[in-house]
């Protein structure tokens, strides 16, 4: 069970990494507007389809 002393801190480092990534994304403004981007993606497809 001595492996726990290595695995647990490792898991915590991973959790820390996830937290850091989330904070970075938030500070870049990726969560500022959650309404427009889904619509935008939808229409990019439509426009390309119409061009073909």
């Amino acid at each position: 069970m001595i492996v726990l002393y290595f695995v647990l801190p490792l898991a915590l480092v991973l959790a820390g990494l996830a937290c850091w990534a989330f904070m970075r994304a938030t500070r870049q403004g990726q969560f500022d507007d959650l309404d427009t981007p889904p619509l935008r993606v939808l229409f990019d497809e439509e426009a390309r389809g119409a061009g073909r």
């Binding site: 647990l8 989330f22 904070m23 938030t26 500070r27 969560f31 427009t36 619509l39 229409f43 439509e46």
Partner: protein, 831 residues
């Protein structure tokens, strides 16, 4: 400000809308007036603006817009262009106010586009770089309808971009709240980071706690138990010190200002739990509490975020309202030259020129020219008023006919509309101070918790001094008001979500809370209780001539003619030999019959004496404040039409239901007394409660006066109602209202008329019942846990079961509750 009502269904100047014509405009989908239909053409346009917009969209290869629009939201027509030059957008004064300089000669501005309404708009607006070379990017925030335009000042000017947006039908207004926006964005992000960190910590601590609980049952080696406890301790301290700091800050502020706040009992519970957990970790025995504390911090932060978002939404929209005030004026110099300046630069004594279709930039007096102005913004009365030299005009009124010059007397924030907007802002901030239900309970909670803990400590010090501190601490933690902090926002959010799905948008939880207690309900007349335009309300005499009359009137643009021409006619018979007498009537031959249609005086002059029934019909119309129109076929009078603002079919039923529920409906209208009284009689409202000739300031005063006696709900749709809407306990804006009223109101009904209000009141009562039920459940759990703690029976397993169970119960109660009846709206009447 013409765009202010562009969306509201009010007919813009020069934009004729014929409900009866079967051909739809290729751009805006509104019906094309019979006179403008081009036979055999695939493309039909209702006005020049739509034709231009269509050709611009077409020539840039953006036709996909129409397909997207039809696929996403076919009901809503795109708004029409204002056709302005927007040269003030290049003014240096404008630059310093709104424009941000970026690196590499690029500049950025935020523009508010009130007419953005559907998903296809996002697509079209973001194609701006394709339309205007030099514009680098155009990003739309759909919810706020604010576009961020980045352009190269060396290649393009902002006015070019603004004109392009306007041609597409999105009249731009500089977003005046852009500066405050950055600070807010940072605050929003901080909230999110806090929730994310608290959630990650809570998840990890729960995993550790499961291992510890399993160990408590199945046995666990001491070294591992200590390792896990120290890890939990680390997480707990991190959670309290970082995301949990917000509660301690709130509690300190609450103590300092001596106002009760829910943060106080929460911080108390967290602090005591944290200290006790730390002591027990270091001692190596006893309950460590950190699992409960971390989950608590996370759950409470989520609850707070939900509330915060609702408040942010409403304050955003109120501030965008200021963007709609006019930004430019044509100032006449001393040498007679006309220059465009920003409105901020106007001072009393300046002479400004106001062209047809523009709104007046400041309060003043007409010095040259005659015209008529639409003051519906301030008076709610849609009929234009004639002005000539010496007439006083108000900022925000739209000049609908000729060119006039106005001497500025008051400008900027001191104008009547500026003062009105300020009243809206003041009333909105005042309302934010309302003490919440949970906060009122907070004081009692703290007092109760502390006295019970003190009592526990005292009793156990006598009976078993070794465990006294442990039991008292356990009590403080298990009674931490998690459900109390979660129950209200959760139940409210569920109810608000359900209301939104039924087309009732509720901006703040407190609005829903306050609708539960009956009081006075002020109702605006025009557009709220009535349809808000002229239509045929009564028809005496022969019905079969209506199609012929419609054909005769179809060629005319007078409001009365339009009302007579409206209707579901399959094919209108051809008309010949039309003679029009301005302001009196029209003559023409339809299907071999010579018709004369006009005012009773006109017909009297033409035909001599009339029958007794005609006089009776005319009198009946006048008694009900309708304008009578007499129809004669050849020599005989065959029909009398009563025209006016028709009462919506569901108004009477809605008013009756509200009275049943204990509300007192009162009509407040800017219209004439007799018209208001006639509507009141039809709705069964006593005459004393029908007030006519009430200006916007008086409406706000009436609301304020009534507030002294109890809750006041204001229902309206216009800018003239905005101050009253903001001042009332709850302001409700109805469908088709001006943006200002939407911004000022707490609730926006997506369906026309007042039918949904009674339903919303019922929903509000049910929601409050749900909250009380959730409170009862959490108090039951807390009471049970407190009893266990007081008697010394609390143990980690019991606490671990009780905590999630109480939260789960609160969740279940909130989601299982019934907010609305399953049946479709009983009050909705299909037109």
């Amino acid at each position: 400000m013409s765009a202010l009502r562009a969306d509201s269904g009010a007919v813009l100047f020069g934009h004729a809308a014929h409900a009866g014509s079967p051909v739809g405009c290729s751009h805006c989908t509104l019906a094309v007036p019979a006179g403008l239909v081009e036979q055999g053409e695939a493309l039909q346009f209702c006005c020049h603006g739509c034709r231009t917009a269509y050709s611009v969209i077409h020539s840039c290869g953006l036709e996909a817009y129409y397909r997207l629009r039809d696929a996403t939201d076919a009901d809503r027509a795109p708004a029409r262009a204002a056709g302005k030059a927007f040269s003030e957008f290049d003014d240096p004064a404008f630059d310093t106010l709104y424009v941000k300089n970026l690196q590499g000669g690029l500049r950025e501005v935020q523009l508010y586009l009130p007419s953005v309404h559907c998903a296809a708009c996002v697509w079209l607006v973001e194609k701006l770089p394709q339309l205007v070379p030099g514009v680098h990017a155009s990003r739309l925030d759909f919810r706020r309808a604010v576009v961020t335009v980045t352009w190269d000042a060396g290649v393009a000017s902002l006015s070019q971009a603004a004109r392009a947006l306007d041609t597409l039908g999105y009249t731009p207004h500089p977003a005046k709240e852009a500066g405050a926006r950055d600070a807010r964005k940072r605050e929003d992000r901080r909230y999110l980071v806090r929730i994310g960190v608290a959630g990650a910590i809570a998840g990890n601590v729960m995993l550790l706690a499961f291992a510890l609980y399993a160990g408590a049952f199945g046995g666990m080696e001491g070294q591992w138990e200590q390792f896990f406890r120290y890890l939990s301790f680390g997480f707990g301290v991190l959670s309290l010190a970082w995301p949990g700091r917000a509660f301690f800050k709130g509690a300190i502020a609450s103590v300092r200002t001596r106002t009760p706040h829910l943060d106080l009992p929460i911080a108390l519970g967290l602090a005591v739990g944290g200290v006790a957990g730390t002591v027990n970790t270091l001692r190596g025995s006893g309950e460590i509490y950190f699992d409960s504390l971390c989950v608590l911090v996370f759950a409470l932060l989520v609850g707070r975020w939900i509330q915060h978002r609702q408040q942010r939404w409403s304050s955003d929209s109120v501030e965008l309202l200021f963007s709609l005030t006019p930004t430019a004026a044509h100032r006449v110099g001393e040498d007679g030259s006309v220059a465009d300046v920003a409105v901020q630069a106007l001072v009393p004594g300046d002479i400004v020129e106001v062209r047809a279709g523009e709104s007046i930039p400041a309060d003043g007096v007409v010095v040259r020219g005659t015209s008529s102005v639409d003051e519906s913004l301030l008076s709610g009365e849609s009929r234009p008023v004639s002005v000539a030299g010496g007439s006083a005009v108000c900022a925000g009124a739209v000049n609908v006919a000729g060119v006039v010059r106005v001497r500025v007397e008051v400008s900027g924030e001191e104008t009547r509309v500026g003062r009105l907007m300020r009243m809206v802002a003041e009333a909105s901030t005042r309302r934010a101070d309302v003490v919440r239900m949970a906060d009122r309970l907070a004081v009692w909670f703290v007092v109760g918790m502390l006295s019970l803990s003190a009592l526990t400590l005292a009793v156990w010090l006598v009976r078993d001094p070794a465990h006294a501190a442990e039991y008292a601490t356990a009590l403080l933690i298990v009674t931490c008001p998690c459900a109390l902090g979660l129950a209200t926002p959760l139940a409210m959010t569920v109810a608000i979500g359900r209301a939104a799905r039924r087309g009732m948008l509720v901006k703040g939880a407190d609005a829903l809370e306050k609708l539960a207690r009956p009081g006075v309900m002020f109702l605006d007349k025009t557009g709220t209780l009535t349809r808000g335009g002229v239509s045929v309300v009564e028809w005496f005499g022969r019905q079969d001539v209506r199609a012929d009359v419609a054909a005769l009137e179809a060629g005319s643009s007078h409001p009365i003619a339009r009302a007579l021409a409206a209707g579901a006619w399959e094919r209108l018979p051809p008309v010949s030999d039309v003679v029009q007498t301005t302001g009196a009537g029209i003559e023409g031959t339809v299907g071999g019959t010579r018709y004369t249609v006009g005012s009773p005086e006109f017909l009297h002059a033409r035909r001599g004496t009339a029958d007794a029934w005609v006089d009776d019909a005319v009198r009946a119309c006048r008694a009900r404040a309708l304008s009578p129109v007499v129809v004669a076929a050849d020599t005989d009078v065959v029909a009398v039409a009563g025209l006016g603002d028709a009462v919506r079919p569901d108004s009477a039923a809605a008013v009756a239901r509200l009275r049943e529920m204990g509300w007192r409906p009162v009509i407040l209208s800017g219209d004439d007394e007799e018209v208001v009284r006639a509507v009141a009689v039809r709705l069964g409202i006593p005459e004393g409660d029908a007030r006519g000739r009430v200006g916007p300031e008086e409406k706000a005063d009436a609301v304020r006066a009534a507030l002294r006696d109890g809750p006041v709900v204001m229902v309206g749709d216009g800018v003239n109602d905005a101050a009253a809407l903001a001042g009332a306990s709850v302001g409700i804006a109805v469908h088709g209202g001006a943006e200002a009223s939407l911004a000022a109101a707490d609730i926006y009904l997506n369906t026309p008329g007042v039918g949904a209000i009674a339903e919303l009141v019922t929903a509000s009562r049910r929601t409050l019942r749900t909250i009380r039920r959730a409170f009862a459940a959490s108090i039951f759990y807390n009471g049970f846990a407190a009893a266990c703690a007081v008697t010394g029976y609390i143990n980690p397993i019991l606490a671990a079961v009780l905590m999630p169970l109480s939260s789960f119960t609160v969740l279940t109660i909130a989601f299982r509750s019934r907010t609305f009846d399953r049946a479709q709206r009983p009050l909705e009447v299909t037109p």
